[in-house]
């Protein structure tokens, strides 16, 4: 079989899968190359569910259902997990080489379908000001495109992923008009969210209405695209057992149906350019250590922000490519966050339904955005979330000597009233927050591990403090007793990652300050496109998937045009 393709897509996550599907469907010869395994069958999902159920609670992290199966995935295509969120101890080697001063705490999945296996499905769009925070607030950088440029592609992305949402609630939110309705009505909001909504009627903080909205999610509120309606399994992260939540295997399968070729268990080690400066070859190692290559008239790099940057650095025999701006690997961003938890005066009955169905968007574009970051709040439907699992609440009650009926009564009374808010912050691009190649550490295929320098700035920390004040106000309004509040300890510098890894190949108009142009095409190599959240110049405070999907579909159109003109 020929190894020459029209398009070679590196990475079978959501960005790569959408592009592969669109182009293959349009008749292009497409190959998809992914580091992880192909696990597309129902039995594969059942196996992940089983593995998850048989893990101790403390080890049920987003990556574990996928890495604990009987496979060499962990060895040859390591998915970073909580174990990698630490400075390596002497003698111990982790995948992330954390250089500090702060710890980068987000993970991703390296298997076909990528990190969408373990996402929550939240799909809020950016708002117009998110694309121009430099112009509006003197912070970060502006995008080379506007909300208006991306709006039609948001509609396409929402249809492709199957986003359930309430048009009336979201149309014109901070000027983010919607030219098309969501393909599905919103996911039914959890009982507790509805109770909270009643209790917060008319509440305001600092002049902002505390308004609870239904959260747009790529989760089916009815049968859609051959997948069933959500059954409320309460386990969106790390795994939806029935695929009511979208994951990128949907579009991998569509691409395969359109005659795309998939090469799994193949870790790309470099791209090679020709004298004209175009990418001529994609080189990869399969898990058996053998080296192979393919060619593509167009090459799409969609291996997520850490691995994509690594591949560019390793290319042309380690000289690096696409980096005349010196921006590859820089401006690494996440949505840093934390939680505020309380015992409410009324039951909310968590762990029934999706893990989150509602949010508060009023602080997306607040009046202090010059001083500290914008943020969103989501309401958990999972008790105290990361703050305390019900198993830990049980442990507390057992240590108080409770058992029998008394234990049952107390456990129900406590857990049924547990509620947590999560805050998610916009992090500014900082060139010193960067991914590079470890000069010393290599994985089992001999490929350098990523080295990460990361610092949380005062712009983010200021937003976290303000967000906690908002949540405390909410708890006060609803009458949640203060002695049972639990907040991430900001004085101790506590924050969490969101798994929203952005910014290592940012887009921009100026080739001297950005890696790709507004269509995700490399400034330096005209047949190289980068897809995924790695191209985000700034990250807004919102989940990136629907935005990166819109950008990917927009890039697919540009690739189509480029192929046609070649």
């Amino acid at each position: 079989m020929s190894n020459n393709y029209d398009v070679a897509v590196i990475g079978a996550g959501v960005a790569g899968a959408l592009i592969a599907w669109k182009l293959a469907d349009n008749g292009a010869r497409v190959v998809i190359i992914d580091a992880g395994e192909k696990r597309l069958e129902k039995d594969d999902r059942r196996q992940f569910v089983k593995v998850l159920a048989e893990l101790p609670q403390a080890r049920r992290t987003p990556s574990r259902p996928y890495t604990e199966v009987d496979t060499d995935n962990k060895k040859f295509a390591h998915s970073p997990d909580t174990e990698d969120f630490a400075k390596p101890e002497p003698g111990k080697t982790l995948y992330f080489q954390q250089l500090g001063p702060d710890i980068f705490k987000s993970q991703y999945q390296r298997l076909i379908g990528g990190s969408t296996w373990a996402w929550r499905g939240n799909c809020p769009r950016f708002i117009p000001n998110d694309f121009k925070i430099q112009t509006r607030y003197g912070r970060g950088v502006d995008w080379p495109i506007t909300y208006k440029d991306l709006e039609p592609w948001y509609c396409e992305a929402e249809d492709a992923l199957g986003v359930a949402g309430d048009h009336g609630e979201w149309h014109n939110l901070f000027g983010a008009y919607r030219s098309r309705k969501f393909p599905m009505s919103k996911i039914a909001q959890a009982y507790g969210d509805l109770r909270l909504k009643q209790a917060l009627k008319g509440a305001r903080f600092d002049g902002v209405e505390i308004k609870i909205l239904g959260l747009p999610q790529a989760r089916n509120s009815r049968s859609y695209d051959g997948r069933p309606a959500c059954e409320g399994n309460s386990d969106c992260i790390p795994l939806c057992p029935i695929q009511a939540k979208y994951d990128a295997t949907v579009h991998v399968k569509k691409a395969l149906k359109a005659k795309a070729t998939l090469i799994d268990r193949a870790v790309v080690t470099e791209l090679k350019t020709n004298p004209a400066g175009n990418i001529r070859e994609v080189v990869f190692k399969t898990w058996d250590g053998q080296q192979h290559s393919v060619t593509g008239k167009i090459v799409v790099l969609a291996a997520h922000a850490v691995e994509s940057a690594k591949i560019l650095f390793m290319s042309n025999n380690g000289q690096g490519i696409a980096n005349s701006s010196d921006q590859v690997g820089r401006n690494l961003m996440d949505h840093l966050g934390g939680e505020g938890a309380a015992i409410l005066p009324f039951p909310v009955f968590p762990f029934r339904g999706p893990q989150s169905t509602s949010c508060i968007e009023g602080f997306r574009d607040h009046k202090y955005r010059r001083e500290f970051c914008a943020f969103r709040l989501t309401i958990g439907n999972d008790g105290w979330g990361r703050t305390k699992h019900p198993f830990d609440t049980l442990r507390d009650l057992l240590q108080r000597g409770l058992f029998g009926q008394e234990l049952q009564k107390e456990l129900l009374d406590t857990v049924s009233r547990q509620l947590r808010f999560a805050y998610s912050m916009e992090q500014l691009p900082d060139p010193n927050n960067r991914v590079t190649l470890s000069p010393t550490e290599k994985d089992d295929l001999g490929i350098p591990k990523p080295q990460i320098a990361f610092q949380v700035d005062d712009y983010s920390r200021g937003g976290m403090e303000y967000a906690q004040r908002v949540i405390k106000h909410i708890f006060t309004v609803v009458g949640a007793p203060q002695e049972h509040w639990e907040f991430s300890d900001l004085k101790a510098g506590v924050y969490s990652g969101s798994g929203h890894i952005m910014g290592t190949c940012r887009m921009g108009k100026d080739p001297t300050t950005s890696v790709v142009d507004a269509e995700c095409r490399s400034h330096d190599h005209k047949n190289l496109f980068v897809a995924g959240s790695s191209v985000f110049p700034t990250g807004a405070p919102v989940n990136p998937t629907v935005t990166l999907s819109a950008l990917a579909l927009r890039a697919a159109k540009a690739i189509e045009r480029q192929l046609a003109s070649a």
Binding site: Y191, A229, E231, D235, F351, Q399, F403
Partner: protein, 135 residues
């Protein structure tokens, strides 16, 4: 009545500790075996103690006084409750959690007590979560 076999004793004690009127006997056998791998001698001592007052009219009072509040037997009683509620328990080293099978996880009493279902194991249909659970 005075429980007969070890499994009978364990089952009867489990019902008192968990607050369930009737626990599944098959699961009881599995849990007893799992706990005994970590706590063989302590389990024997615990069941011996329990059988010594199992027919006492003040059984609940005695379980509190002689098992739950007992410094030696109390921690194992907590692990018995933990395994029934969560399918996992803390091993003899005080640290290592030992998880059970998928079926055991799905039988965890905690989810029933909080009127929910085990994660990944809803048996209900779309939208049930907008209403409070049935009493």
């Amino acid at each position: 009545m005075s429980p007969g076999t070890e499994l009978d004793q364990f089952t009867a004690l489990s019902e008192i500790l968990t607050g369930e009127k009737k626990v599944d006997k098959t699961l009881a056998g599995q849990y007893l075996a799992r706990l005994k791998t970590q706590y063989p001698n302590q389990m024997q001592a615990l069941l011996d103690t329990f059988s010594s007052f199992a027919s006492d009219q003040y059984q609940l009072f005695e379980v509190t006084r002689r098992i739950v509040d007992d410094k030696t037997l109390g921690p194992l009683a907590q692990q018995i409750i933990a395994i029934w509620y969560t399918s996992e328990f803390v091993g003899a080293d005080g640290k290592t959690p030992s998880a059970g099978t998928q079926a055991q996880f799905y039988h965890g009493l905690l989810w029933k007590v909080i009127k929910a279902h085990p994660p990944t194991h809803s048996t209900l249909k779309y939208g049930y979560w907008t209403k409070p659970p049935k009493k």
